[in-house]
């Protein structure tokens, strides 16, 4: 089946793409660029860098701008998916939704209206187990946004590893933080993984942070050839 993956460059959409590629053809990535930093539907930090990741994965990307207003942004998403069907002949859409009934039921409705298949290959996945799976499969993931107490500035720029996972697990028990950031607690950017033909190197960045809300803004990044194993 030819599929389009709703894509942000964060770990969930990249890993959903990985699962989709096992038995299907990912014909394009679909990225919604929201002008509203607090979008209900879409990942926003460094979304403009998704194109670089698409290049690293060697998959065409369809970028679509939305004003990011609640519910109206769904019309933009629908238009973007319809365009992906026209341009790339996709028969279905893949998302990285894990728990969000809000997001997934809206995407399901859009797919039904457009008569497309809808796949959510991370749906209900055990979040801590999933973070470890990312490491086992060779993904390198950087934290680029924090949006919940007690995630402070020190988390920005951290790379996911066993120590970080254990910390998130403790925060889950104590503060009910979703360890994979499904509740919008944190946002990530993928630097490397088995479906990337080149790896991403962040050359220059800055941090904006205040009171448990912050972003790592990537100012410059480049793609680096990977050594043959």
């Amino acid at each position: 089946m030819k599929l389009g993956v709703l894509f942000s460059g964060g770990k969930d959409s990249v890993f959903a793409c990985r699962r989709a590629m096992k038995r299907n053809q990912v014909a394009c990535l679909i990225t919604l660029i929201s002008e509203n930093q607090d979008s209900y539907m879409f990942h926003t930090p460094n979304i403009d860098r998704a194109g670089v990741l698409a290049e690293a994965m060697d998959i065409p990307i369809l970028a679509w701008t939305t004003r990011g207003e609640e519910e109206l942004e769904l019309e933009d998403l629908k238009a973007a998916i319809a365009r992906a069907r026209e341009e790339y002949g996709i028969q279905g859409v893949v998302t990285g939704a894990i728990e969000s009934v809000y997001q997934s039921s809206r995407v399901q409705r859009i797919c039904r209206d457009l008569d497309l298949w809808c796949f959510n290959p991370l749906w209900q996945i055990d979040q801590v187990g999933y973070l470890r799976l990312l490491l086992r499969e060779g993904f390198r993931v950087m934290i680029i946004g924090v949006f919940a107490y007690p995630l402070d500035e020190s988390w920005l720029g951290k790379e996911l590893d066993e120590e970080v996972i254990e910390k998130l697990e403790r925060l889950q028990n104590r503060y009910r933080i979703n360890p994979s950031g499904e509740g919008g607690e944190l946002e990530t950017f993928v630097l490397d993984g088995p479906i990337l033909k080149k790896r991403v190197e962040v050359v220059k960045f800055s941090k904006i942070y205040d009171n448990y809300r912050g972003c790592l803004q990537i100012a410059d990044l480049r793609l680096v050839e990977k050594l043959e194993k």
Partner: protein, 183 residues
């Protein structure tokens, strides 16, 4: 426990979404389980210790509905069965009910109207729906939740055979946990 994958093909991309979440709950319950795609079941599955769960499918996936004869073994299976969404539609078809158009997506209130070991006493619960089709109540089945033209859950009279149209793996994992305890 036998967990049956009803998706359009074996090892499909939908399996992560409709089978794995069920497996996760059954595993946590401590029950032994095995997973089979429905096309691999030849009818000799009458020995599935601990019962059978028939999983749901993607909204656009109705291939199971054209292959109901491959599920005729559930008619003589002598143990608990839980049909989720597509699985409920299969149970309805096998036992003489009908699959009827009935689209619903998202969280909805569900009225439990009669007490059963699976859903407990009558009350209102919230469940996640994802279906284009529902069912007419088959003969010898009792309505457990919803109404006669909006069958949310049913039970075969005198048997631990249940169907629920919503997805218990989303926000109602207790239903699957409770099913794992049924004898």
């Amino acid at each position: 426990m036998l967990i049956v994958d009803l998706c359009y093909e074996k090892d499909s991309l939908s399996r992560y979404e409709f089978v794995d979440p069920i497996v996760q709950v059954v595993r946590k319950s401590g029950r032994r389980y095995r997973i089979r795609h429905f096309s691999d079941l030849g009818g000799g599955e009458t020995d599935a210790e601990g019962g059978v769960i028939l999983c749901g499918t993607a909204l656009k996936d109705n291939s199971y509905a054209g292959r109901i004869e491959e599920f005729s073994w559930i008619r003589t299976f002598d143990g608990p069965i839980l049909g989720i969404c597509a699985g409920m539609q299969v149970i309805a078809s096998v036992f003489g009910g009908k699959i009827v158009p009935w689209p619903e997506i998202g969280l909805k209130e569900i009225q439990v109207i009669s007490e059963t070991p699976l859903l407990g006493e009558p009350r209102s619960i919230t469940g996640y729906h994802l279906h284009n089709y529902g069912v007419d109540l088959p003969p010898d089945f009792d309505l457990v939740a919803g109404s006669s033209d909006n069958v949310q859950a049913f039970k075969r009279r005198g048997h631990q055979v249940y169907g629920i149209i919503f997805h218990p793996e989303v926000r109602n994992k207790w239903i699957i946990e409770r099913f794992c305890q049924l004898e």
